[in-house]
């Protein structure tokens, strides 16, 4: 194994290797510095930050900023902390990701295995939907949500993200299923399986890698979205990103940087978690979906 691996890389001398690793270490530090600043400053009292010690470790460690950001900080007009908005985000992300992934899989299945007249046009339009800038749909979408009675609600946000997400999830699954042997579908048809049975028993169990890609992609995009959240939500349905902005931008009182840092880390944690848990499959799935063989 070791000899196999070393035969595939270009051999370098000790000197150049030293240079390479030094450079890598420098870049590593450079990229991790912001995270370091956020973490250390979220764990020290405000007075230490105001005293000008941004880069230094806390002399007095405290989790009070985290507690404050979570449950007592002033967001907009109410001192609720980020907790209710975090829940809003969860309530928005989970159904939006789940439904758009399932629908994307279903679309991909139909577009590759049950071809119909005009299927390429349908796929083309879905693809087009992926690349429409968000700003263009704001006003028509607001009108639609109003008509549907979903304006300013979490289900309304779920709907918006669902509509936007289907294009991408369809693209992923279609490309993946394109390489899925059609003979399997035909064999299942002869065995007597129907449309949904084939989907559930044959296609879905083999869709693990692409489902992970789709979930990571949708989760990150929807969780991090600010524009739709800011445009289509009320005070009680705002997602985390909007709430974080309100926390940081509040113009009254002292700016509690340590609380802001803690809140920002909280807002980023779920996407980080998803990457850590499923990231291994992400690269593999991306390859599986896009490259032949």
């Amino acid at each position: 194994m070791a000899s196999n691996a070393s035969s595939q890389v270009v051999r370098t001398g000790a000197g150049s290797r030293f240079v390479i690793y030094t450079l890598l270490a420098i870049f590593c530090l450079y990229y991790l510095l912001p995270l370091y600043v956020m973490v250390v400053n979220s764990l020290k009292p405000l007075s230490e930050i105001q005293a000008g010690g941004m880069m230094s470790l806390p002399s007095e460690w405290t989790i009070a900023p985290w507690a404050s950001a979570w449950s007592t900080a002033q967001i907009g007009v109410a001192a609720t902390g980020l907790k209710p908005y975090f829940l809003n985000s969860i309530l928005m992300v989970v159904p939006a990701v789940a439904i758009s992934t399932v629908l994307g899989a279903l679309n991909g299945y139909v577009l590759t295995k049950w071809r119909f007249r005009g299927d390429t046009i349908v796929f083309g339009l879905l693809l087009f939907g992926c690349f429409i800038p968000f700003q263009m749909v704001l006003i028509p979408m607001a009108r639609m949500l109003g008509l549907m009675g979903l304006a300013g609600t979490v289900p309304g946000l779920v709907f918006v993200h669902l509509v936007y997400g289907i294009g991408f999830s369809t693209l992923y699954f279609r490309n993946y299923y394109q390489q899925f042997p059609t003979e399997l579908v035909r064999a299942a048809m002869i065995d007597g399986a129907g449309f949904f049975t084939i989907f559930r028993r044959i296609m879905l169990p083999s869709s693990g890698p692409i489902a992970v890609v789709c979930i990571i992609w949708q989760f990150t995009n929807i969780w991090n979205d600010f524009l739709f959240g800011a445009s289509f939500s009320d005070f009680d349905s705002q997602p985390m990103t909007v709430a974080l902005n309100n926390l940081v931008q509040s113009s009254t009182g002292v700016k509690e940087y340590n609380v802001h840092f803690a809140g920002a880390i909280m807002a980023a944690l779920p996407t980080l978690l998803v990457y850590v848990v499923a990231g291994r499959y992400f690269v593999r799935g991306l390859m599986a979906g896009s490259v032949k063989g």
Binding site: A187, M189, I190
Partner: protein, 370 residues
Amino acid sequence: MGFLEIRNATKSYGAVKVLHETDIAVEEGEFLVLVGPSGCGKSTLLNMIAGLEEVTSGDIAIKGRSMNGVRPADRNIAMVFQSYALYPNMNVGQNMAFGLEMHGIPKAERDKAVSQVADLLQISHLLDRKPGQLSGGQRQRVAMGRALVRDPDVFLFDEPLSNLDAKLRVDMRTEIKKLHQKLGTTIVYVTHDQIEALTLSTRIAVMFGGHVQQLGTPKEIYDNPANIFVAGFMGSPSMNLFPAKVTTENGEAVAKVALADGTSATLPFAQERSMAGHEGRDIILGIRPEAITDEDGADRNSKAIHRIEARVEVTEPAGSDTFVVSHLGGKEVTGRFRADVDVRAGETFPFAINMEKAVAFDPETEQRIG
């Protein structure tokens, strides 16, 4: 009435007709092989029998029941695919039971049927494995097991051996034949390999360009090809085809064949293949390599062995035989000599030609004359 009947069936994609009017009646227990080069319409025809492709016009009936508009699942057929098409997420047992499960057979009965077929195919020890953990030959067996377990009216095989290596292919071929003899099932088998067609079938349909060129037993197809395409496609090395002229000599019709040195040789036709009435006509003469031999290797039962002297161009020792290439009628001609005959390239050597096996074609229509 046949067990499986294809009546005037055609298939078109838009304006392109990929299968022209086809009539084949298959009896119960028959092993029909559809053979032809790629794009000849053989797989399309198989898919039409399976119900995976619709019939554009005409009709396909199984057991007297028209299959037009009947779903594949309701035709009581089973199919073995080229890629085996085993469900990757299920183990072998589940793969084999899937069709039964879909048809609402209770679990106890499914398990019984699966274990019976697994015993028959000697794959009982593989039932808990996933397809990814099997070798090519094992996958092939499982694919056949999945078809057998359904106990269908008709088995459809779509080039099932083409993904196996040469040795395994021969073994599996024998095994399929044994299985057919043992179970007496009705099989329609698609292949592009003419050896498979000849060894397995009870009848062969040779297809080309969306037409059935000839339908008959392997012997009929091999000995009496209906046209030049069938003659050239079936048999390996393929039949020698070269121009000749029919003339009369001593009151009998003979073929005059030009030799490489400018002279010509005379080959009298065998009695049962007399060309009387075609005198003066140009023909394409077809003689299989095994009918062009060294003199001692000639068929002793034949009453029409004729000797001609010709120059040997190349010799190709192939172990059991030596193939000898010469020129007749301006075309390269291969003869099949015994392995130990002392023949060298460049020499003039006597060739023994068995005219009982010679066939003649019209050069214009490419159809058989006599």
